[in-house]
């Protein structure tokens, strides 16, 4: 019928189709969910992403079984590498684990929905506008959500600042507490080397309405990526002031730092 089903037939192998069909998501009668996720588009996106995951970045994912099989989950990770490749790789890692795979959703920059084609495409493979209401409603829907609390502070980082965590926002902790969501810290090692940037061209970014424009080689280097999934963390929904929430966020941040250090010490070479 459509271009989508044609592409799907060409690129999606049966085993992958079965893998995705095993993951049950609350969908409407035509395969969509309220945020624009579509099962067929995901299968196409996933088969392409898995090639990148396995062949290009040769990802080593460790502890992916730490992600609970069900219930609301927040995957909290360090952000790096200019493009949201890290989010993509975490998503593929959790979706392709052999036992109880899940399809995590990623929260994306507010700028994406305004970009033709790209915005829709991201929505269809499960990415969602990074809005607290979206995050809350998805947790209520028992989704697993990838969150980068550093936001653009992390992804826009320069190469000289690599593996230094920037300030974490507190929003994810508040939501995790409210919705009794499990937090799984994730340390990402390798994405810093994919697009090393030496500077941010601020005037150009401002003129284009972009969060940043890196001064970098226009090439994504095939750095070997290590994903370190930490032990699940739980926080009660106590009525605590913001500074106590910040303390809890710091606990998660320290955990991620630890996971990054583990990954860095395991890494023998960059590529």
């Amino acid at each position: 019928m459509s271009l989508r089903s044609f592409i799907k037939e060409k690129v999606v192998p049966q085993s992958l189709e079965d893998q995705i069909n095993r993951i049950r998501k609350p969908l409407g009668s035509l395969g969509y969910d309220p945020w624009g996720y579509n099962n067929d588009s995901l299968k196409i996106g996933f088969s392409l992403a898995r090639q990148i995951y396995e062949k290009y970045f040769r990802v080593v994912a460790d502890g992916v079984e730490n992600v609970p099989d069900e219930g609301p989950v927040l995957l909290i990770a360090n952000h790096s590498g200019q493009l949201p490749i890290d989010g993509l790789l975490i998503g593929v890692a959790v979706a392709s684990r052999p036992k109880n795979p899940r399809l995590p959703r990623a929260m994306i920059e507010r700028f994406f929905p305004t970009v033709p084609y790209l915005g829709n495409m991201l929505n269809q493979i499960g990415a969602v506008l990074g809005d607290p209401v979206n995050c809350a409603k998805m947790l209520a829907n028992n989704e697993a959500i990838i969150v980068f609390p550093e936001g653009i502070r992390g992804s826009g980082k320069l190469y000289s600042d690599r593996y230094q965590l920037k300030r974490f926002g507190n929003g994810f902790m508040r939501l995790a507490m409210q919705y009794n969501a499990t937090i799984v810290p994730v340390g990402v090692v390798g994405c810093e080397e994919t697009i090393p940037a030496v500077a941010n061209i601020r005037p150009l970014a401002k003129a284009l309405g972009l969060p940043y424009v890196p001064l970098a080689v226009p090439f994504v280097f095939p750095a070997k990526v290590y994903l370190k999934f930490g032990k699940p963390m739980h926080f009660d929904n106590a009525d605590i002031p913001e500074e106590k929430v910040t303390e809890r966020v710091e606990v998660v941040k320290a955990e991620i730092n630890e996971l990054i250090n583990q990954g860095l010490s395991e890494r023998k070479r960059l590529f």
Partner: protein, 315 residues
């Protein structure tokens, strides 16, 4: 006749397909009086039907002649009809007149039909918008201002005169046989414009389901504002495909380009002020209405699109 003993309801917007569906569902148990400012419609010998402008003094005579128990106010002029000024007069001032009369004559139940357009389409909209979300429709277009004013008015009366028991319903796109709004016209056409690269999520409710929802709301007196939408979603372009429409892409950036093109095309069903609704999703959360009133839509999306596929009219 037993008509004298049946409770009486005033139904506005009687010439519309939705009102006629509502009337058919209520005519056995209520005595209905139909009004429309556009035309006088024949609805059978048992239903008096009038063509009256709410802003005219004779409108009050209806309240003197009948003892209405309730009002079902469906007579909102859609943005695609009439001029801005006339729309404001009818939708806002007319509704105010109606609500004042309702208070004066001790009406005990009022249903006001609004629209999901009041939320406004913006790139930053989260999905599953709640009833308490701010109404951003105004910021986007002056042409949607009267629908928000109408809601504002209904809300003031809701709190000031609790005895009116006002319930405001904000449905998603109402579609199906006889519906003449812009989205229904698009689905029914052979070729429909789309903004290149944008296919926002949309929700559709069948006119029969919407009529059921209105009747359900009328019968269960719960005041307040409620979204009405089934728990089902589809991307705009996919909906067009399933309805058998050929999609005609229009350049979408910069935003001034599609607006200008829409203005030049002068298509009633693709007006420039609705452009953002073809670009960004406005997905509303209908769960509160579903749970409060026990509402269960019966017509699936597939059935809706099959109707449009099989009933094409040449453009």
């Amino acid at each position: 006749m037993t008509n004298e003993r049946k409770p009486q309801i005033l139904v506005t917007g009687a010439a519309g397909a939705l009102a006629q569906q509502v009337i058919n569902r209520l005519r056995d148990n209520y005595q209905l009086v139909a009004v429309d400012f556009r035309e006088q419609v024949y609805l059978g010998d048992d239903i008096p039907s009038y063509c009256i402008d709410f802003n005219k003094r004779v409108f009050e005579d209806l309240f003197r002649r009948f003892q209405f128990e309730g009002i079902i106010h469906l007579g909102r002029i859609m943005s695609s009809q009439e001029t801005r000024m006339r729309r404001y007069n009818a939708n806002v001032l007319g509704s105010q007149k109606l609500l004042n009369l309702a208070h004066k004559y001790g009406i005990r139940r009022v249903i006001v039909l609004s629209t999901y357009h009041v939320y406004g389409a913006s790139a930053y909209n989260p999905a599953l918008i709640d009833e308490q979300a701010p109404l951003k429709g105004v910021g986007l277009s002056m042409d949607l201002v009267d629908s928000i004013e109408l809601e504002n008015l209904a809300n003031i009366y809701l709190w000031r005169y609790p005895d009116l028991n006002i319930t405001v319903l904000r449905p998603c796109n109402i579609v199906g046989p006889g519906v003449r709004n812009s989205i229904s016209t698009l689905l029914a056409s052979r070729r429909a414009p789309v903004l290149a690269g944008f296919s926002p999520m949309m929700q559709f409710i069948h006119i029969d389901d919407m009529a059921d929802a209105i009747v359900l709301a009328y019968r269960n007196t719960v005041r307040g504002v409620f979204n009405v939408a089934p728990d089902d979603w589809i991307a705009y372009q996919h909906a067009l495909q399933l309805s058998g429409c050929t999609r005609v892409p229009i350049p979408s950036i910069p935003p001034v380009l599609p607006r200008t093109i829409a203005r030049l095309l002068k298509m009633k069903s693709f007006p420039s002020y609705l452009m953002s609704f073809f670009k960004y999703p406005v997905v509303i959360d209908g769960r509160t209405f579903r749970d409060t009133f026990g509402f269960k839509p019966k017509r699936p999306l597939k059935e809706i699109f099959r109707y449009y596929r099989e009933n094409k009219h040449p453009v």
